[in-house]
């Protein structure tokens, strides 16, 4: 099928970015009143709101675990977040992503401190332009911090794609659609461990290694923004008092 070139001859992407450049990031912490913790993230045009409840009592009670807290996560896309309206009922994709997002965040949380309880994480994508699971994870770890939940580290996430033969950092919708591979990665940057890794498409071992390196760089950049956002948020709270 005929399609436009995704990478120009001088190595620029559709939105003018360099191959290893992430989109502008905006974080807002404490955006919801009722949730125990919340955060909003813009990753370019991708917009996600995350609310966190807990640790609190788990219902039904028989699901509770005696030595730790159960993490529950729900990733959901609003019907108006994409071009063609998406029916609000959870799709198979959303169920899978909810699982991997939960598993990406859980290593960071000291679950053993809150036996028999649950922490609920709700991520709502209000506008999707690629890398929505990455934005959900990055925003969720700020929402968890906002809720005062003890964590080993923040979790930062970014995706790497192969587009027209080039590896690109922070994948937007068109690159995801027409690229030949997509690889979302989440990590705890100061622990230097990976908590989410998915890939589809085709990569050689060498390309995979390079993608992983690129993702590491991207996660580090997201991490810096996360820390900045937390610092300025808590500094402002202090000044208000």
């Amino acid at each position: 099928m005929e399609r436009k070139k995704l990478i120009s001859d001088d190595g620029r992407r559709l939105d003018g970015r360099r191959l290893d450049e992430i989109r502008p990031i905006k974080f807002k912490i404490g955006v919801l009143k009722n949730a125990d913790g919340s955060a909003y993230m813009e990753l370019g045009k991708t917009k996600v709101i995350v609310g966190v409840f807990g640790p609190r009592e788990l219902h039904p009670k028989h699901l509770a675990v005696p030595d730790k807290c159960i993490i529950q996560a729900r990733y959901h896309m609003a019907p108006f977040s994409v071009k063609e309206r998406k029916p609000p009922a959870p799709t198979r994709r959303e169920i899978e992503l909810s699982k991997v997002i939960r598993e990406a965040l859980e290593p960071a949380i000291f679950v053993e401190l809150f036996p028999r309880t649950t922490i609920e994480i709700y991520a709502e994508v209000i506008q999707a332009d690629g890398s929505t699971r990455c934005a959900a994870i990055s925003a969720a770890s700020l929402a968890l911090a906002d809720a005062g939940i003890p964590m080993r580290d923040l979790v930062a996430s970014i995706a790497v794609a192969k587009v027209d033969g080039h590896l690109v950092l922070d994948v937007m919708d068109e690159e995801d659609k027409y690229g030949s591979s997509d690889m979302p990665v989440a990590m705890m940057p100061s622990k230097n461990v990976i908590t989410l890794l998915q890939m589809d498409g085709m990569l050689t071992y060498e390309e995979f290694k390079k993608s992983l390196e690129l993702a590491k760089k991207g996660c580090m950049e997201v991490y810096m923004k996360q820390k900045e956002a937390l610092e300025s948020y808590f500094k402002n709270i202090k000044e208000e008092k």
Binding site: E96, V100, E103, E106, I194, M199, M202, Y205, F208, L212
Partner: protein, 271 residues
């Protein structure tokens, strides 16, 4: 996936054994369990295969259906993979719609087959933009004794390899299905290898006991590309823990070798 409460003694035992390079069922760290493949086990399904991976037992069936193509790929057939974790396969599986584990499994198998370009979907187009073949792969798990992903991926691939698709005749906007069959256009053999992390050790093809206590797992699919090189065509990390970079690179290298071994034992039915 927690199937049963496992005594912490067994967890300790599994970790200690792994530390010294051993496993509770006597395997080495990178040994697979015995694989038994049977193909064409059913007549009504257009393709079928059963795989036993140790005691894990799955059956995959292939059916075809004429449907409308996706608007963004009007000239390609559709691959659709589902998985059912039957209540008879484990004391903790319940009847009902697929849970997140079954959905994840089906989607990972789907990604490996799709990413690895196992089926030439262009050849499944009947009338561009109007009618294409949908290939249904339905995975049924009959006995869950660990590593359902690898067993299911293998069963799906083998079922596709034996599948016979009806020949058709296109007259104007009508598709006439003929009583003649031909093999599916299978062009590559993506193989998934799942590796569990236990402490700082990597264990290939985790058993149920190992899955219950592992830190996390990574499933990696390899396919031999047209360039005769091995390509990674899908990855999925699962479970609560985390991997270091070195562990991931090591897992990918192990999976590359193991997938080649598994590919050699595939019966290439119909070819």
């Amino acid at each position: 996936m927690t199937i049963s409460p496992i005594p912490s003694l067994k967890k300790k035992q599994i970790y200690e054994l792994a530390e010294s390079g051993k496993r509770i069922d006597g395997r080495g760290l990178i040994d697979m369990r015995k694989i038994e493949i049977n193909t064409n086990i059913l007549d009504k399904a257009e393709g079928s295969a059963s795989v036993k991976l140790g005691d894990t037992y799955v059956i995959a069936g292939v059916k075809f259906e004429i449907s409308e193509p996706f608007p963004d790929i009007p000239d390609e057939g559709i691959l659709s993979v589902t998985a059912e974790f039957l209540p008879l396969a484990s004391p903790l599986f319940e009847a009902g719609p697929p849970d997140e584990n079954a959905i994840e499994l089906a989607r990972v198998v789907d990604r490996a087959l799709r990413g690895g370009k196992a089926i030439n979907t262009k050849k499944l187009c009947l009338i561009p933009g109007k009618k294409v073949w949908t290939v249904w792969v339905d995975i049924f798990v009959f006995d869950h004794c660990g590593n359902l992903i690898d067993a299911s991926a293998l069963a799906s691939l083998c079922a596709l390899l034996t599948a016979k698709i009806p020949k058709t005749e296109v007259i104007g906007n009508e598709v006439k299905i003929l009583d003649e069959y031909e093999p599916l256009p299978i062009e590559s053999l993506p193989i998934i290898v799942t590796i569990a992390k236990i402490g700082d050790k990597l264990l290939v093809d985790p058993s149920l006991e190992e899955e219950e206590v592992m830190d996390c797992r990574i499933s990696i699919a390899f396919v031999e590309g047209k360039d005769k090189q091995e390509h990674i065509c899908a990855i999925q990390k699962g479970g609560r823990g985390s991997f270091s970079y070195e562990e991931i690179l090591r897992a990918v290298e192990i999976a590359k070798v193991k997938s080649q071994e598994i590919r050699k034992i595939i019966p290439c039915g119909g070819k």
